[in-house]
């Protein structure tokens, strides 16, 4: 447990403003010079229910949620169900306090709102004894009353932040600035008053002996706090995407919302449509008509996109789809992360898959790989998919502002102008040979856009001749199929020849033990590997992004260099390990799995423990809610 970090958890009910309060507090910590990382836990409910946001802040880089946390601000759930409904929901009023105690570290701090959480309920929790046992420092405060006295009850979050700042001996300057940015007039005045009042009460009236203080740090460059969804949306904007079609579904809605809000000022078009079949089909139609277009959804909605996805493959319509995974099957746990749609995304839709799939591991990768997905899609006329999840979607971290200072890339790739079309191959009736396998380079046949002179052709989901007519001749079939599949090989070569890899490497290069992960589990794995190496083990790690075409050469090299490797992923059936074994079967005996699918993302300590159980103390069972799958043949 490091004492150089603050992990602050604000808990309450959905609709209590936990999100915006935590966003501002995270920003204040970032502005004070710290690196921050947020983790959001919430139910699929508009009002009430146990929800929290955790902010991890340190003077060094943070890539993941931490192990447990050390500061709880329990606000009380103002939308708690009435006690008659206890049978099903339990006592919701106490939940912001009771549900969060197990993960609070020794020496941790608790502020709870005694205005909303009753004394009786606290007694029933046996809080005093537990506090003594764990050296917790407990500060009951009537945050609601304080807020009511100086403004309105809903401002109790502000009171909580003021009290937090006082206990951490934090300067209020950044918090005040952020409040002034977000509000004005009487509301601002009342909030500032409440902030100071809470701060003063704690400073003047409370004795405290705890050691925890806000860490101090500094940034050399200006930082921006953004989420994975921001990064994907911004990657799309910078790739020149100006058309999005979608249907609301958690958690993909975040990207859809961000682009819908920004596109009107950018000459773009956003369409909320009747269903996800239509959404993906609209993206296909817009792309066909010459616009860089995207769509996306989460598990169930993406299932509806299978057929338009196949249409894009067959008609070689460039397209970017994004899929924000959540726990399945079916409706599953709508607001909980899981990495269990990998096989769905790789293989959904009939016929042989002809698509590109990237799984970014963090916020920077989400931005870069979204741009890359557009670039590849338009250069090779193929659908590209970004697969991410509820975790990456909602987590916020600080990124160098300069990271985004890049040229936009709106070009349409392998698309001809009218002038170029005059020189291109046509059949003797004047139809453009849009799907010409004779002149194709890297499998790519150049495309025209409707409305261009000399470019008319037929796009069809049927197998087709070079001008697009339905054609079932065996020679033509094989030539077209081979040409389309050649694009995947060309893309692999293209990606391998680039200066920087989309895979991420960490740990000790000389190690004989490896940890392999993918997507949003990357941060926790990276931190765990660092910790293992710090503790004297020798471990290396790789996080894989290129799912299709698979990063075969890089993963082969990694697996050849280790004796054994543990594959870490958030699902129950080891889907990524299945992919590894499909692509690189000869390494099957080297692979074990660490799986988690309880709705919560990995904490680094769980991975450390999984490693120890696997490779160090073979007889021990893991204690956390994770599962170990032994190697093939074991």
């Amino acid at each position: 447990m490091s004492s150089d970090e603050l992990i602050w958890r604000i808990a309450g009910g959905s609709g209590d403003g936990i999100d915006s309060t935590s966003q501002n507090f995270a920003k204040a910590l970032m502005r004070s010079g710290l690196d921050v990382f947020t983790h959001r836990h919430y139910p699929s409910r508009i009002r009430g229910g146990h929800t929290y946001v955790e902010i991890r802040a340190a003077d060094h880089e943070v890539q993941s949620r931490g192990d447990g946390y050390n500061f709880l601000l329990a606000l009380g759930d103002s939308f708690a169900r009435n006690p008659q409904e206890d049978a099903f929901y339990g006592n919701e009023e106490i939940k912001p306090l009771s549900e969060n105690l197990d993960e609070l570290r020794e020496g941790g701090i608790i502020i709870y709102d005694e205005g909303l959480i009753s004394e009786e309920d606290v007694e029933a929790l046996d809080l005093e004894a537990r506090a003594e046992e764990n050296d917790w420092h407990v500060f009951p405060m009537d945050l609601r009353g304080l807020a009511r006295d100086h403004g309105r009850e809903v401002m109790r979050n502000t009171a909580g932040v003021g009290a937090t700042a006082a206990l951490l001996e934090m300067d209020l300057e950044h918090i005040e600035d952020l409040m002034s940015d977000a509000m004005g007039g009487d509301i601002l005045e009342a909030n500032l008053e409440i902030l100071h009042e809470a701060y003063d009460i704690v400073t003047e009236e409370y004795d405290f002996e705890h050691d925890l203080r806000a860490p101090e740090g500094s940034h050399e460059t200006e930082q921006a706090l953004l989420s994975g969804s921001n990064a994907i949306a911004y990657g799309a904007i910078d790739a020149g995407c100006r058309f999005i079609a979608g249907y609301p579904m958690t958690p993909w809605t975040d990207v859809f919302t961000i682009l819908s809000q920004n596109f009107p000022d950018m000459g773009g078009v956003s369409e909320q449509v009747e269903d996800e079949i239509a959404a993906a089909a609209l993206a296909v139609g817009a792309s066909h008509a010459g616009v860089k277009a995207m769509s996306g959804s989460s598990g169930g909605g993406f299932a509806l996109m299978s057929e338009p996805l196949g249409l894009a493959e067959m008609t070689e319509t460039p397209l970017v789809l994004i899929e924000a995974m959540r726990a399945g099957p079916s409706t599953g746990m709508p607001t909980k992360p899981e990495q269990s749609d990998l096989e769905h995304i790789l293989y959904t839709s009939q016929g042989d898959s002809q698509r590109v799939v990237f799984a970014p591991g963090n916020i920077e990768e989400a931005y870069e790989q979204t741009r890359l997905a557009f670039e590849i899609a338009w250069d090779y006329q193929i659908p590209s998919i970004i697969i991410y999840d509820q975790k990456l979607s909602g987590e916020n971290t600080n990124v160098d502002v300069e990271f985004f200072d890049r040229e936009p890339q709106p070009d349409l790739g392998a698309t001809l102008t009218e002038e170029e079309l005059r020189e291109a191959a046509h059949d003797n009736s004047g139809k453009f040979k849009r799907f010409n396998y004779e002149d194709a380079e890297n499998g790519v046949a150049q495309r025209s856009i409707p409305g261009q002179k000399g470019g008319r052709f037929l796009a069809t989901g049927n197998e087709h001749s070079p001008v697009g007519h339905i054609n079932e001749d065996p020679d033509n079939r094989v030539a077209q199929m081979d040409r389309r599949l050649e694009k995947l090989e060309s893309i692999r070569e293209d990606l391998d020849s680039r200066e920087s890899s989309t895979q991420t490497y960490f740990g000790d290069e000389t190690a004989d033990y490896g940890v392999i992960t993918w997507g949003s589990s990357q941060g926790a794995v990276e931190e765990a590997v660092k910790r293992l190496n710090d503790d004297g083990h020798s471990v290396k790690g790789i996080s894989v992004s290129d799912m299709m075409p698979f990063a075969e050469a890089e993963v082969t090299e990694f697996l050849e260099s280790v004796d054994e490797a543990m594959v870490v992923e958030m699902n129950a059936t080891a889907q990524f390990r299945g992919l590894l074994q499909k692509e690189l079967g000869r390494f099957g005996e080297k692979l074990t799995s660490l799986l988690k699918y309880n709705g919560n993302p990995f904490e680094p300590a769980e991975i450390v423990e999984g490693y120890e159980v696997n490779f160090v103390e073979e007889d021990r069972e893991p204690t956390a809610q994770v599962r170990i799958e032994p190697a093939a043949g074991d």
Binding site: N230, R242, V269, I277, A278, A289, G290, P408, D411, K431
Partner: protein
């Protein structure tokens, strides 16, 4: 300068330009009503001043889906039931394109029914032709959403227990701003109606009766037909929603009794199209979005300029 010079080109247009030069010959059965749609389109498009390369014909799956194999325009033969969302987006991406969507009754009123309702509701400026033969033809004669009650087929061996869809009434209720029915056996009316639909600024829906001589032999050939605008027996105002609704209902009722009524049912000329509505609320660019990608001088906004809200 436009990147799409086929659009708005002023020149003499020969209807033969819409016939593909080499292949393929239509694979429809002899006597199929689909020939009637093809012929009417080939006549209507030049009369409406459209050249092949400013037209995008988007089709679904079925015999009707092959329309754009035999009509030489830009074409997109999509998947079953999904011609409308593809067509809508193409129109939004480049509103200067002439976009025609087409499919069968199973395609449009069955599997694609949701898209039909919403496309009509939103009043997209496209022409939608439904080849209505009251049967699934290409899959060999199953009962379709427009098959009459009692229709016997291999999948409904005792006769369909379902009342057929009312395509015209549904279109009106959903919000289409031009609704007509024509028949393959009535080529002049068909051509005129298609031309009007193309020129109409909004969602123009044509329920096109196309006899299936192979799988719907029992059904009428849609003769004799009555043009409700020509006949003295019918008098109603096509701009009046309630009168139109009554006329549609009657038309749908009597079809199964053997009386084929055709013509214009509802025409709402002053309703703005979807792209106009979207432009009015500030969510459609002034220039066609597709043009921007070919404009070397276009300035592209960057996410870097949005970061202030995150610092």
């Amino acid at each position: 300068m436009s990147a799409f010079n086929a659009i708005g080109e002023e020149r003499e247009i020969d209807r033969d330009e819409f016939t593909p030069g080499v292949e393929p010959q239509p694979t429809w059965c002899p006597g199929c009503g689909d020939f009637g749609v093809l012929k009417a389109l080939k006549q209507a498009l030049p009369e409406a001043g459209k050249t092949p390369e400013e037209v995008l014909t988007v089709t679904g799956i079925g015999c009707s889906g092959k329309l754009n194999s035999y009509l030489d325009t830009y074409g997109f033969h999509t998947i079953h039931g999904r011609s409308l969302p593809v067509a809508r987006a193409a129109k939004l991406a480049n509103p200067e394109l002439e976009v025609i969507a087409a499919g069968g009754d199973g395609d449009g009123y069955g599997i694609g029914g949701n898209h039909f309702i919403h496309s009509a509701r939103e009043n997209h400026d496209i022409t939608y032709i439904v080849f209505n033969n009251e049967i699934f033809g290409l899959t060999k004669g199953q009962t379709s959403p427009t098959s009459p009650k009692g229709h016997k087929s291999k999948t409904q061996p005792s006769g369909s227990a379902k009342t057929p869809i009312r395509p015209l009434s549904q279109s009106l209720t959903a919000g289409a701003s031009y609704v007509a029915r024509t028949a393959a056996v009535n080529p002049n009316q068909a051509k005129e109606i298609i031309k009007e639909a193309i020129e109409h600024d909004g969602f123009a829906h044509i329920d096109f009766l196309t006899q299936c001589p192979t799988w719907n032999k029992d059904a009428r050939q849609y003769v004799p037909y009555v043009d409700i605008q020509e006949s003295d027996d019918y008098d109603f105002d096509v701009s009046d929603r309630e009168e139109a609704a009554r006329m549609m209902r009657e038309t749908e009722d009597v079809l199964n009794e053997g009386t084929v009524l055709t013509g214009r049912y509802y025409v709402e000329d002053d309703r703005p199209s979807y792209q106009q509505e979207k432009h009015a609320v500030g969510e459609m660019p002034d220039q066609p979005l597709a043009e921007r990608y070919f404009d070397d001088d276009a300035e592209w906004e960057r996410s870097y300029d949005l970061l202030e809200r995150h610092t």
